[in-house]
Amino acid sequence: MEIQTGQETKPLTQRIIDAGGLVNLATYEAAGGYAAARQAITEMTPAEVRDLVKEANLRGRGGAGFPTGVKWGFVPPPEKRSLGHVYLVCNADEMEPGTFKDRYLMEYDPHLLIEGMIIAARAIGADVAYVFLRGEYYEAYRQLTQAIADATRLGYLGERLFDTDFKLHLSIHRSGGRYICGEETALLNALEGKRAQPRTKPPFPPASGAWGRPTIVNNVETLCNVPGILRNGADWYQLLGSGEDAGTKLYGVSGRVNKPGLWELPIGTTIRELIEVHAGGMKSGYTLRGILPGGASTDFLTTEHLDLKMDYGTIQAAGSRMGTGTMILMDDSVCPVAMARNLQHFFAQESCGFCTPCREGLPWLEQLLADIDAGRGKPGDLELLDKNSAFIGAPGNTFCLHATGAIEPLASALKYFREDFEAHIEQGRCPYAPQHIDKQAVEA
């Protein structure tokens, strides 16, 4: 089977491309907007919506890749829960360094997210929904606020949607600003007005999330995929992907490429195609050395991995994670030690401070890297980095996966670029320093 001519191939971005920018309510409706929500509420049962999304094999676009329909099924059915709210929370706290995909969707097609949330709310029986929005995303806040007002005015949000008993109240919560709020349970704590620290599991949010009530947390891009699936069906969605996974993916490339940017492509597009075709290849004079495939908290890949498909299974098998699908490239002018130090600075700073390895271990790693970067490294430092990385990074050794994510680029840098670290210690200086300065001068 193949995608039929005339069927959508860019369900996330085609309207934006057509409109040449912001998709307002009229444009969105003209393009068939809110028909999927109407269909989900007036023609389908919640179970049918969940089954359709499950069948389509939509996987979480926040990075973990968990099947969305399966997650929705974890909400206890009404007969197995006490009376009260069920919450849908959209995780729009996009703070992964190098990642800007959700922002694009919210700023240019806010109704797509709202429709996705209406359908998701239908699937899980939620009556209250929140967009937990990164504090700095002011434009997204502005567009979403307008879109929610417009949708409410036309009866797409509020009481008695499409003349049924179904209701949904949607609000935006602007984050006070911590990377850890991207972790869904820390997000829920922050939403409740508590310290943004991750929670113990169990209980898992679908059973006991916001205010102790059943809660589903989905990423922006995940929710934006839902209306298309309802419009076009599971088979269509499966066909969109070019590998194991289904649908399209917003891929991004940043670094010294000719055309850094963001593209909606079949999930499973190769890294090489992303860099060489869509991003226009490396800038002249720069050679690619390392790839953080899915944001700062994923393991480095190298040029030997260029032909891998960017999907969940393939990248995982190569020892990294697809993550958000927005890659950061490291070229030969960049000192891997400095880059690792910079990343550790970020992760140490963003630790919530709850558990010891993350709170106390990451700053030590940062300090060791700073010493090495500044030529103060000592024999044994790499072994210290190795040992601490292993202990801090192993999932389960820390309370949540923040430190695991922090260690992924470091441990892989130590693996792939070890000679650079050793050179720093042996020479007592950063070997990149003069070259780095030269290249900067050329660029200028």
Binding site: P203, A348, P357, G396, T398, F399
Partner: protein, 918 residues
């Protein structure tokens, strides 16, 4: 019971516990920080990592946090595996990056959990090269020191202070490696349980401020099992001494009572022992307020002569031991003995005894049982001020609803954050009926503020609505209707409801209503419990004494001349009866002999004063609110003439040539007390002096590292002092012998190899949170015949009860009510230096209308008799009534029943505002 395998050894473990709990219960050494038995698990420190194996074939294992993992049947783990050991050493290394190397000058040194765990994991050398983080410390009040640089961010302080004890002013601030635990700004920690931070903090961030001012290493402290003399709950404590000074009080675990926590009055109030107001010598009054020292032999001759001449009346005390009271009663005879309670208080205590006696077995809850109540009604007693540890127990009872919800959701009950996050603000109902706002109102489903009479009526109506056996109350104000309805609904739905009341309001009706509610609730499905708070540490014990004389009768006997000699045992009579009655008796008596520990107006009026030992200088028995007799032991031999009250009395009897009081040791008195049927059983409260450990030794008061024994008094004499021999108790003034699971009543301190901190308590428990291996201290007396308990008996005495309308004001004046105050009302602790800093200025609470009538505003002064009191205004108090913190220094020690006159005090100067404190 599940079985787990730890390093190849099979262990049976309790149902529903986590692996850390299971390992510690079996005495295994597994380091931890953030976990606490009372606080549950949160998984913050990652110190208790073990290697967990999937199945029998798994040889690699996976690092797992023991505190976060259920100990299910078949679990196989390793504590000693190299990978687990290395990870735990790493955790310590991370924690120690920023921990200062100030152990030699840190108050916690030598009993620091962080030190213990560091040594246990083997982290010895420093590899971290960065600077240590530093902080500014805060002024937190007179009780607690703050030294944030030492913090290892285990979160225990805020979890105890906020989550467990309901505090709000100590919080976690900041994030990442910059976590700060303190207040938003410098200031006194508000929680009355803040002192527990000293023991909850695993290192030296929060330390005992009075102790720190002159600290002693734990290994240099001489300690003995003691009891708190602060209220009627009977919390167990460790009292510790060096250089003849009571250094500090720590919590002593009792499975049924205080478990891991005590209140700040208990911890910091015992410093009265070191007060400058102590009576340390025998004195003979030569002029008003002027005493001449006497030799003991002379004084005893004098006393014996005084008693020999005519009739002698003896007044005992609810703050003296059973033994002391018994000695006085024996000396003067039951016909001439007054138990030392004021008339009203004695009547209420008698009623309490009568009500308790009608209860079936198990109806009087231990504090631990209080924590299991699923609905609580507090009727007219402000327990945070009269029985503070009980308020902390009730704060745990509200969690039962959340435990039920967590159970349904499959969240392990020890998973503290999980339970709290899931249940959010769901609480088991607590209903608080009180005169004024209380410190438990924040957890109350509903509150009712009214005068004690109205509260009693509300209680009566609740009883009526629960059971037709009780008459309806027809004069109940409309304002109470909602509360009554809420209380009836909550109590009727509960399976283990608890009714708490007490005597502090002086209102019989409260006790009667409480008992009727309990009787009305009882059914097959419902096991209601009743808790009546007394006032003092031995109120219940002394109320059992055969005492013929009521207080006012005893005073009358002296005033009228029918008795010529008055012996007062550890009692300030001005706190028990009207000042004119007391003064008249003291004036008319030919001889007044006082035995007491602190100077007070009664002692000042005595002809002869004997210095009596305090709880830490004597051995004796106190009986708590549940009729549990518990022994306290002499911690140190006091300087000067100080002796236990019973010994002075026996010495006097001996001079008189009497043979019936020829007691040589406290055990002799205890045995003699057994002759009083109500006190029968007190010998079993603790082992006799003849007890020896299995190794044939006495239990040492001094740890084996006790130092300086030969040099301590070198400033006085170069000769090594002879070690005192303790013939009275199974404890020794020695470091010889081993403190390994002695009978619980004899546990002088907790220490175990490798475990120098108070966390070593787990080595003394049969299992974590269970009974002590040596047996739990104390013995329930069965003083009252409850064989004829009639569950439907009506205790209301409607005929006697003052109609609630009489509480309203009238032109005749104000009726005064007592408002107990945590820091100040209790006689002894009010002499502790740190407690004094926390005492409010003497005050009086008025309704706004009355204040307007008296033309005073908040902060101004009102005069009552010779007392000048600062006005507080509170709309909750009924018009025509005024509330006074009775017994607080500067406030009247006793209140009359009739109306009194109040007037504005134009000379009143508000006390100075303190702008800085050290």
């Amino acid at each position: 019971m599940p079985h787990i395998k730890v390093d190849g050894v099979d262990y049976e473990v309790a149902e529903g516990v986590n692996l850390l709990h299971a390992c510690l219960s079996h005495g295994l050494d597994l380091p931890y920080f953030c976990w606490h038995e009372a606080l549950g698990s949160v998984g913050a420190c990652r110190q208790c990592a073990v290697l967990a194996y999937k199945d029998e074939n798994d040889s690699r294992g996976r690092l797992t946090m023991a505190c976060m993992t259920p100990a299910t049947d078949g679990t196989r783990i390793s504590i000693t595996a190299a990978h687990a050991r290395e990870f735990r050493a790493s955790v310590i290394e991370w924690l120690m990056e920023n921990h200062p190397h100030d152990c030699p000058v840190c108050e916690e040194g030598g009993e620091c959990h962080l030190q213990d765990m560091t040594v246990m994991t083997g982290h010895t050398s420093r590899r971290y090269r960065g600077n240590k983080r530093t902080w500014e410390n805060q002024y937190l009040g007179p009780f607690i020191n703050h030294e944030m640089n030492r913090c290892i961010t285990c979160y225990r302080c805020v979890r105890f202070y906020d989550d467990y004890a309901g505090g709000t002013d100590l919080q976690a601030f900041g994030s990442r490696g910059r976590m700060y635990f303190g207040r938003a700004a410098d200031g006194v920690l508000e929680s009355p349980f803040a002192g527990n931070l000293v023991e909850v903090c695993p290192t030296g961030v929060f330390t005992d401020k009075p102790f720190s001012a002159n600290y002693t290493r734990k290994w240099d402290l001489k300690s003995a099992p003691s009891l708190c003399s602060g209220c009627s709950l009977g919390c167990n404590t460790f009292a510790s001494e060096r250089y003849g000074v009571l250094k500090r009080i720590h919590n002593r675990y009792h499975v049924d009572i205080n478990r891991y926590f005590i209140c700040d009055r208990g911890r910091f109030g015992m410093d009265y022992v070191n007060s400058e107001n102590r009576i340390r010598q025998i004195g003979e009054r030569v002029d008003a307020g002027l005493f001449r020292p006497l030799e003991a032999s002379d004084a005893l001759q004098r006393a014996a002569g005084m008693i020999g001449t005519g009739r002698t009346v003896g007044i005992g005390s609810p703050r003296a031991s059973v033994e002391d009271n018994h000695a006085l009663r024996t000396l003067v005879g039951a016909n001439n003995f007054c138990a030392g309670l004021g008339n009203r208080e004695a009547a209420l205590m008698a009623l309490a005894g009568q009500l308790y006696s009608a209860m079936p077995e198990g109806a009087i809850p231990t504090l631990h049982e209080v924590e299991q109540a699923d609905a609580v009604l507090i009727l007219g007693e402000d327990i945070l001020h009269t029985a503070p540890r009980l308020a902390l127990a009730i704060r745990q009872a509200i969690r039962n609803e959340s435990f039920a919800m967590a159970g349904d959701a499959g969240v392990p009950l020890w998973q503290d954050a999980g339970v709290r996050g899931h249940a959010q603000h769901a609480h088991s109902p607590v209903l608080v009926a009180s005169m004024l706002a209380t410190g438990l109102d924040d957890i109350a489903a509903q509150t009712l503020n009214a005068s004690p009479g109205v509260l009693a009526s509300a209680g009566g109506q609740i009883a009526h609505e629960l059971s037709a056996d009780y008459a309806a109350v027809d004069d109940l104000p409309d304002t109470a209707a909602g509360f009554v309805e809420a209380a009836v609904t909550a109590l009727a739905a509960a399976r283990q409801p608890l009714i708490v009341t007490g005597i502090s309001a002086g209102e019989r009706g409260l006790l009667e209503a409480a008992a009727n509610i309990v009787a009305g609730l009882r059914s097959e499905e419902c096991q209601p419990r009743l808790l009546i708070c007394g006032a003092e540490s031995n109120s219940f014990g002394v109320s059992l004494a055969d005492a013929e004389l009521a207080m006012e009768t005893a005073l009358e006997a002296v005033s009228s001349g029918s008795a010529d000699t008055l012996i007062v045992l550890q009692n300030d009579l001005f706190r028990r009866a009207d000042a004119t009655l007391v003064a008249e008796a003291l004036r008319r008596a030919t001889n007044v002999i006082v035995l007491d520990s602190l100077a007070n107006p009664t002692a000042e009026a005595a002809h002869l004063v004997f210095p009596a030992a305090t709880v830490v200088e004597a051995t004796g028995t106190l009986v708590n609110y549940e009729y549990r007799a518990q022994r306290f032991y002499q911690v140190f031999i006091p300087a000067g003439d100080i002796q236990p009250g019973w010994r002075w009395l026996a010495d006097i009897a001996s001079v008189q040539g009497r043979e019936d009081m020829g007691w040589r040791q406290v055990d002799d008195v205890v045995r003699d007390c057994e002759r009083v049927p109500q006190w029968s059983g007190i010998s079993d409260a603790a082992p006799p002096a003849s007890y020896r450990t299995p190794t044939g030794e006495k239990v040492p008061r001094e740890p084996h590292r006790y130092s300086g024994r030969t040099a301590m008094v070198a400033d006085v004499t170069l000769h090594e002092p002879k070690t005192p021999v303790d013939e009275e108790t199974p404890l020794a003034y020695s470091m010889e012998g081993v403190n390994v699971n002695p009978p619980g009543a004899l546990l002088p301190y907790v220490w175990s190899p490798g475990w120098n901190s108070n966390q070593s308590v787990f080595k003394f428990q049969q299992r974590v949170g269970g009974s002590l291996k040596g047996g739990d201290p104390g013995m329930h007396l069965a003083p009252l015949d409850n064989a004829n308990a009639a569950s439907t008996r009506d205790y209301s005495s409607n005929g006697d009860r003052q109609p609630s309308s009489s509480d309203a004001g009238n032109e005749a004046g104000f009726s005064l009510l007592s408002v107990p105050t945590l820091f100040g009302s209790e006689e002894l602790s009010a002499n502790a230096a740190a407690i004094r800093e926390r005492m409010p200025n003497p005050y009086l609470i008025l309704n706004p209308d009355d204040a307007a009538r008296l033309e005073v505003t908040a902060g101004q002064g009102v005069r009552y008799a010779e007392y000048s009191l600062q006005v507080h205004i509170d709309a909750a108090i009924a018009t025509g009534t005024a509330a006074i913190p009775v017994g607080m220094p500067g406030a009247p020690p006793w209140l009359p029943e009739g109306p009194v006159t109040l007037e504005r005090d134009l000379d009143f100067t508000p006390p100075p505002t303190i702008i800085a404190r050290g």
